[in-house]
């Protein structure tokens, strides 16, 4: 299993990268961490004639925490974002989800932005992008443009990104104060593609056991073609976090997902799993002691 021959481009600046991809984009791919692309090349499922390797492009390796978002550059590794304390303090959902992305050795090389560009239905970070109302920053020969994550994904492995555009960064939106989050998935082997999984954001009013749930949203992994946000509020609003029953979410979850069967699990099994994982994730989120996004400063 070896890749077909290609020309390797190693631009040092973003302008250079945009120019090169502008020339070869019709038969070229951007190489960031390569943890999804290189298996595809090794198995010859794709044979681009050019690879534009952006690993040495200056300025793409930073995580920036602002009042409204966590901005992640194109070559920030999953592990780098997972360990970023500033990002964790304001948006713990990132670390909660990243711990489920493949294995540590893959997270050391793979990039968060790259996995969003790849748009695998089993990928964790596309779901986190929609759940946080992320903004996708693309750059190409026609300049820069910003795309809402909720519109970015068109189908499995398909996005609005043009062949000559580079995904420069993703800005994950911070939640309103009082939002509690969790991420949960189930796989045959920890780190493998999940049979089903989800991230949840629960809006909570108050503190302690008497705090009341105002609403909840979820975004799923492996059970929807593209990541979508499911609003579970009508089934959970008004409950106390310490004694909440989440049984009412089943109907909403069933209506919102469309899992396919494969050799690992039937569609029905995935449905049952998604419902149960939703209950557990809601419980975890509602009772979490991880930092909530309650302040807008002092964490950067």
């Amino acid at each position: 299993m070896k890749p077909a021959p290609f020309v390797h481009h190693s631009p040092r600046t973003l302008d250079e990268a945009v120019a090169v991809l502008g020339d070869v984009g019709h038969d070229g791919k951007v190489l960031a961490g390569g943890q999804s692309l290189i298996p595809v090349l090794n198995m010859r499922l794709a044979q681009p004639a050019h690879l534009v390797d952006i690993n040495r492009v200056a300025g793409l390796d930073t995580v920036t925490v602002t009042d409204t978002s966590v901005r992640v550059g194109a070559i920030v590794r999953h592990a780098q974002l997972e360990k970023h304390d500033g990002a964790y303090a304001v948006l713990p959902l990132l670390r909660q989800a990243l711990r489920n992305v493949a294995h540590p050795a893959i997270r050391n090389r793979g990039t968060t932005v790259g996995s969003i560009a790849h748009a695998d239905a089993a990928g964790e970070m596309p779901s986190i992008a929609v759940l946080t109302d992320a903004v996708i920053e693309a750059i190409g020969p026609r300049g820069r443009r910003e795309i809402a994550a909720r519109e970015f994904f068109e189908g499995p492995l398909q996005t609005l990104l043009e062949a000559d555009e580079i995904l420069e960064a993703v800005r994950f939106g911070r939640f309103a104060p009082g939002t509690r989050t969790a991420f949960l998935e189930s796989a045959r082997r920890h780190g493998d593609y999940a049979l089903a999984g989800l991230g949840v954001a629960v809006d909570v009013e108050g503190d302690g056991p008497d705090a009341v749930v105002r609403g909840a949203r979820a975004a799923y992994v492996s059970v929807t073609d593209i990541p979508v946000v499911l609003d579970l509020s009508e089934a959970v609003a008004g409950q106390r976090v310490s004694s909440a029953s989440w049984d009412g979410v089943e109907e909403l979850v069933q209506a919102g997902i469309a899992p396919e069967a494969d050799i690992h699990a039937s569609s029905d099994y995935r449905r049952a799993l998604a419902v149960e994982l939703t209950r557990r994730a809601l419980t975890t989120a509602a009772t979490t002691t991880e930092p909530a996004t309650t302040t807008t400063e002092g964490h950067a």
Partner: protein, 177 residues
């Protein structure tokens, strides 16, 4: 097939530092790091199993972090410091992980072992006193078809112990000197 497919792309000079030694070879850009190590540098300690990132046998350390050498091109590994299993000890002076594998019977056929040794070496640097549960988690990205993993988990804990013993005795030796 397009014209580009039939014209071989230009060869590139790749310079890598592996286990402290610098090597330069002229290769195709598509040369995987795993093949560069094995074929071009004859460092055959790095094993190649699945070639799509699942098995972990080809794991090497890039600037100290475990990565799959089958999911990197040699040309992308330039300017980084690589460590392979050959750099983690010799038969005469085994590294802590290798010593622990011997003591705990952590291998049978040995095919997967180089990937475990590199992965665990990095892990015990980060977590010098792991529990058995943490050890299990640490090796979850590496496949072994022989052992059933129990002895490998024990070897992780033992390797951390040996590493601590060695660093204590070297500190004591340093204090005496």
């Amino acid at each position: 097939m397009t014209d580009t497919d039939q014209t071989a792309p230009a060869l590139v000079d790749v310079t890598l530092r592996v286990n402290g030694v610098e090597h330069t070879r002229t290769v195709e850009p598509r040369r995987l790091l795993s093949d560069f190590l094995r074929h071009d540098l004859r460092l055959t300690g790095t094993h190649v199993g699945c070639e799509h990132g699942v098995c972990g046998a080809c794991t090497v350390l890039v600037d100290g972090d475990p990565m799959r050498s089958c999911l990197m091109f040699a040309v992308s590994a330039q300017e980084h410091e690589l460590t392979t299993v050959e750099g983690l000890g010799t038969q005469e002076a085994m590294g802590p992980v290798q010593q622990a594998f011997v003591e705990c019977h952590g291998l049978q056929c040995g095919f997967c072992t180089p990937g475990f040794v590199t992965t665990i070496s990095a892990f015990i640097e980060e977590n010098p006193d792991p529990t058995l549960e943490e050890a299990r988690e640490a090796i979850s990205g590496n496949l072994c078809r022989c052992t059933g993993y129990q002895n490998i988990c024990k070897a992780v804990v033992r390797a951390a112990e040996i590493r601590r013993e060695r660093s204590t005795s070297s500190t004591e030796a340093g204090e005496r000197a």
